[in-house]
């Protein structure tokens, strides 16, 4: 009886987690909306390329500086490219969307640029080849006032410095 009770509980837990994950999946799916996943831009509208197949930018969720799986993938490509082109130095620009106070956004842009820089360093790129600059919300690429525009502006961009 004890066994069957615990079995039933386990079953319930599994069932519940299935329902929850189904909900979660559904939520994400509805939010993909073509170019955004959760809050993060996944499109290629504004993206430029450092070299063929090496996107110059990664995107962030609102108020976040956490690198998504896609961002890490992009940054690994950048790291490979930097390794192959050892004479090139880069500036990583950090940006925020317009829906925040100016001073906090400057700090947030700095944090985002450094998240990208740190990832490049862990993939073997020397810190002295990478400088960072935060523009806060001062240099948007998309001038719309809507969630998609904002998601394109929450970014860090790796730019050749020489």
């Amino acid at each position: 009886m004890n066994f069957s009770k615990s079995f039933r509980n386990t079953f319930l837990v599994i069932l519940l987690s299935l329902i929850i994950s189904a909900c979660a999946t559904k939520k994400t799916t509805t939010k993909i909306d073509g170019q955004m996943q959760s809050d993060v831009y996944t499109g290629t509208d504004t993206v430029k390329y450092l070299a063929e197949g090496v996107p110059d930018r990664v995107f962030f969720a609102t108020n976040e500086s956490i690198l998504t799986t896609a961002s890490r993938d992009t940054l690994r490509k950048q790291a490979n490219w930097l390794r192959e082109n050892s004479s090139i130095n880069v500036v990583v620009e950090g940006h925020a969307d317009e829906r925040g106070t100016r001073e906090y956004n400057l700090a947030l842009g700095e944090r985002r640029a450094n998240a990208a820089k740190d990832y490049l360093i862990t993939y073997g790129i020397s810190a002295d080849r990478i400088s960072v600059i935060s523009y806060g919300k001062e240099r948007p690429v998309d001038s719309g006032s809507n969630p998609l525009s904002w998601s394109k502006n929450r970014r860090s961009v790796t730019v050749k410095a020489n």
């Binding site: 108020n63 500086s65 317009e98 829906r99 925040g100 106070t101 100016r102 001073e103 906090y104 400057l106 700090a107 947030l108 700095e110 944090r111 640029a113 450094n114 998240a115 820089k117 740190d118 960072v132 600059i133 935060s134 523009y135 001062e138 240099r139 948007p140 690429v141 998309d142 001038s143 719309g144 006032s145 809507n146 525009s149």
Partner: protein, 448 residues
Amino acid sequence: MIRKFNLIILIILLSISKANSLIEIDITRGNLDPLPIAVSPLFQDDKSKKNSINELKIENIGSQISSVVENNLKTSGLFNPLSNEAFLQKPDIAHLKPRFEDWALIKAQALITGKVIIENKKLKVEFRLWDILAGREMMALAFTTVPSNWRRVGHIISDKVYERLTGEKGYFDTRIIYVSEEGPKIERVKKLAIMDQDGFNTKYLTLGNELVLTPRFNPTSQMVTYLSYFKNLPRVYLLDIETGTQEVVGDFPGMTFAPRFSPDGKKIIMSFAKDGNSDIYTMDLENRIVQRITNHPSIDTSPSYSPDSKYITFNSDRSGYQQIYVMRSDGSNVKRISFGNGLYGTPVWSPRGDLIAFTKLHRGKFYIGVMRTDGSGERLLTENYYQEAPSWSPNGRVLIFYRETKSNDKGEGFTAKLWSIDLTGYNERLVQTETDASDPSWSSLLSN
């Protein structure tokens, strides 16, 4: 949502035996019934009018000064300047001895009269403030200055009248430094600009070659601190408005930003970002000693001293989200004070010491509000699509801030403008600027 107080104007009529303060305005409440005041044009004789044309290319400088006064009193929201056309008495005679019945007839409760003389390249002004109901003079003052200072004369008269009738210092003989903005959103050109509090005498202090942000006045001098991207290195700078000399503040190996002066004007407090983390530092402008105030892996920014310099309020996301904190000025005793729903930013301590003004973001709307320095008594003054960065008038009664409008998908329709609002939540006004504008900072009174 926005709490507003009942509006009462208190006109206290003391018994005749008491000589002082017959009219009095309570400015701690909102005011829907502003005091009717007559500003009689300052009298100027024909000879002086000729000099006035020679000196200033303006014939009737007396009326011009009076309109500066009228406009100031009106925008304060506490006064209702009456139309000149209703005035029965000539300015020169009224200035000698008003016929109080005539002014009472047009419902004036106070009257300003005066006289200007321009001779030998000097502007001499005298004015009197009269209590119509009591039938007596409340104040008389005279001063001499250079003719080109005539607008300031209007502001000084306004401050004297405001102070005499409210019991508190005015804020009219002041200037606003701000960021002038032009061009499309994605390549906005920003310049430092300064103007009189009423929007006149705009001067541009930078050319727009580099991005400039967040200028703030020194409360004790004509110095300004601001963020400049000169040579693409975002650093805090110091600018002397009178001489135009600029210098970078300190020798930091990274971005410094969010600067403000200490109340004595001798230190700059700001954020310094190192390896992605922003902490608060001060630099003493005399001995150049740099002191670290916070040391935390979260973002610490937007610091502002209490007027007694004992405390600092600042913005931090150490709780996970942007909130407002207060600490001792040595960095000890950090306490979170904002606990309402939403995010809080840009705390700025009132010059009176009792309140902290802030920006709040909640459910996609931005608010300017005030709370006590322990976080209690939160009051939201205004709600809008986007607004932030309040700055206090030197008497702590008015806040100036900037507001942006939503743009369409093509980026059209975007504007940035300065607005002001009373501490009561009333009297919200657009502040005139020649261009789009943001990041306003209010100076101290230029004269005392």
